[in-house]
């Protein structure tokens, strides 16, 4: 065998080897590419799902809010509407009695004994009508209730405004006492019937820079969860206080069932839920967690089975300025 032939075989082997290597590596690359693409696709799908779920919870919160506020407005609307109509009737009766009185007076002034004689029964009747009806006193009472009811409606609408900024992403300074009150109005129909609400709000609470609509959602979620934890009856306590370190603390406590140790570590996980299918998306607390984090804050939970649960949210006064951030 000549040297040349040997060389040829060596070169051939090398070329074949290289080609094989290249082919294998390209195959590996292709496999990697496929895996990567699949992973990306999966990620995109997951993100879509989550965005969809977040959107769904937003819509659910909106629906809940509309139902709540509609219910709250209904009561004052009911008596205001009725009262206005009744006052109208009372005034009509009063008007008739006054007209009778005036016609009696005309008879008196028309002169003569005959006029007086005719006037007497008319005046007596007008007097009876005016005194027995109490129309004016009643009307005044009813109108006072109307004003009262309209004030209630105005407050409800004002609270609604805070919630209407659902998609406004800008930050603003907010009084968290007001945010809590607004959230409370919105879930009032869940809470009011059997649950006692205690508000321990610190006066002159420092205002917090935040995305108000997002914090509203946090409080709405926490209050709504608390209400649901107390199926039948109990006390819901909302506390706010300013911390010396320059932060604000909001606590939502219920006297409900408590959270079992087994599931406690998972309550902030997305899609974790203890509710029946269809009742909850399982995104409530994970969104709460996400929003609080985004505000540079923290959330803690303290719970005891059969006694209740407290969620405490601590928020820095201004999360956009890390230096001012609370410890």
């Amino acid at each position: 065998m000549s040297f040349g032939l040997a060389l040829f075989f060596i070169v051939l082997a090398a070329v074949l080897g290289a080609a094989l290597m290249a082919w294998m590596s390209s195959r590996r690359e292709r496999t990697l590419e496929t895996v990567l693409a699949a992973a990306q696709e999966e990620l995109r799908r997951q993100q879509d799902n989550q965005a969809q779920a977040i959107h769904t919870t937003k819509l659910a919160a909106l629906g809940q809010m509309v139902a709540g506020v509609a219910h709250e407005i209904n009561t004052p609307l009911g008596f205001v509407k009725s009262n206005v109509e009744v006052v109208n009737e009372l005034l009509r009766d009063y008007e008739a009695a006054v007209a009778r009185l005036l016609s009696g007076l005309d008879l008196v002034t028309s002169g003569g004994a005959a006029g007086l004689e005719k006037a007497a029964p008319v005046l007596a009747r007008a007097r009876r009508e005016l005194t027995s009806q109490n129309a004016l006193t009643d009307a005044k009472d009813l109108l006072r209730d109307c004003l009262d009811g309209l004030k209630t409606i105005a407050e409800l609408v004002l609270n609604l405004k805070g919630f209407s900024r659902v998609d406004r992403e800008g930050t603003d300074l907010a009084d968290l006492n007001d945010s809590l009150k607004a959230a409370l109005t919105v879930v009032a129909h869940q809470v009011r019937d059997k649950i006692k609400v205690v508000q321990e709000f610190e006066a002159n609470l420092p205002r917090v820079r935040c995305v108000p609509a997002q914090l509203n959602q946090v409080f709405l979620n926490l209050i709504s969860n608390a209400a649901q934890a107390m199926d039948d009856r109990g006390t819901l306590t909302l506390t706010t206080r300013g911390l010396p370190s320059g932060a604000v603390e909001v606590a939502v406590s219920d006297t409900g069932s408590g959270i079992p140790d087994k599931i406690l570590p998972r309550i902030f996980d997305p899609f974790f839920t203890t509710k029946k299918v269809g009742e909850g998306t399982g995104l409530g607390l994970s969104i709460v967690h996400k929003i609080v984090k985004a505000h540079g804050g923290s959330i803690h939970v303290k719970t005891k089975m059969g006694e209740g649960t407290t969620f405490t949210v601590t928020l820095p006064l201004d999360f956009t300025q890390p230096n001012v951030r609370a410890a």
């Binding site: 139902a67 009744v86 009813l142 209730d145 009811g149 019937d193 059997k194």
Partner: protein, 316 residues
């Protein structure tokens, strides 16, 4: 004196004082009692022998449904009306099935309508005796089961099959899958109870149910629906005086209870036909006829069905 007696006595129950003041002013021509403490309501209704009780549904601690159920026992003569903010199905179902309310009124109410409704209810309560709330004795109930016919109108095979299993060996039942067939049955067979699936293939049968009750108030209707629609339920009661409401899938226990109660009701009414006025369906809102959507010929057939309650007709 005569005029004093004509003033109806009405009790309003609501946790909101301002609502009570508004109602008191609205009903200044009646003898009005009010309480914001629902627990007092049954006693007040009994002590003052009121004709009508109007009760709010959503109050702290107690639901209106529960108050009215209690009122039904201690003051059976009083006609019960439930005021609801926004109707939730659960409340409507239990107030129909347990409280046997006369009408639902939505908040905010219409003054003229509420006044008319309460006065009319007051007159009915004055003029017609109430049926005793006590159940019919078991032995009599057995006789009634054997005598009072039941007509089932349903075309969904699952529901029909279910009802056959539940009813056939205990009651005298006839089945119909269309309204036309149902009328044929009613023309020949004395039915005291009509069980009707509201969603037949031929379309919404609520106008039929309403017209049937309007012209034959002795018939006790049990409506079956799978629509979780509170307003539909409210309409069925207000305009159709439906006796019981069942949700699909029909359950053995609740179905038997409802049918037995309906038979007992029919039985009591047969003994005491003057009480019928309490259960008469009226067309909704003034001049709108309850027959809305029914053809003239169908309506005529409904009107011409033999009215059997006055005399007792025997089954063949």
């Amino acid at each position: 004196m005569e005029e004093q007696n004509l003033r109806i006595r009405v009790l309003f129950v609501d946790d909101e004082e301002r609502i009570l003041r508004a109602l008191r002013a609205l009903f200044r021509d009646a003898d009005v009692f009010t309480t914001s403490n629902p627990k007092e309501a049954p006693k007040l209704a009994r002590d003052h022998d009121v004709d009508v009780v109007v009760c709010d549904q959503r109050m702290p601690e107690v639901l209106g449904v529960d108050v009215l159920r209690e009122v039904r026992h201690v003051a059976p003569r009083a006609i019960r009306i439930l005021l609801t903010g926004y109707a939730d199905l659960k409340a409507v179902l239990s107030s129909v099935n347990e409280g046997e309310v006369y009408r639902f009124v939505n908040k905010p109410w219409d003054n003229a309508e509420l006044r008319e409704l309460v006065h009319q209810a007051g007159l009915i309560a004055r003029e017609t005796p109430a049926l005793a709330p006590e159940p019919v004795p078991e032995k009599e109930q057995d006789t009634a089961r054997g005598e009072v016919g039941i007509l089932v109108i349903a075309d969904d095979p699952l529901t029909t099959q279910r009802l056959r299993e539940i009813l056939e060996s205990f009651y005298r039942v006839q089945f119909a899958i269309t309204i036309d067939r149902a009328l044929q049955v009613l023309e020949q067979f004395e039915a005291g109870v009509v069980i009707c699936d509201i969603e037949l293939a031929q379309g919404d049968v609520t106008p039929f149910v309403k017209a049937l009750k309007q012209h034959h108030p002795h018939l006790q209707t049990i409506a079956i629906t799978d629509r979780a629609d509170a307003q539909l339920a409210v309409d069925l009661v207000n305009e159709g005086q439906v006796f019981r409401l069942l949700l699909k899938p029909v359950r053995l226990g609740s179905c038997r209870l409802a049918v037995d109660a309906a038979i007992a009701q029919y039985w009591k009414l047969r003994r005491n036909p003057t009480a019928l006025r309490r259960f008469t369906a009226q067309p909704a809102g003034g001049d709108k006829p309850a027959s809305g959507g029914l053809s003239e010929s169908l309506l005529n057939r409904i009107k011409q069905l033999p009215a059997r309650i006055a005399g007792i007709t025997r089954f063949d």
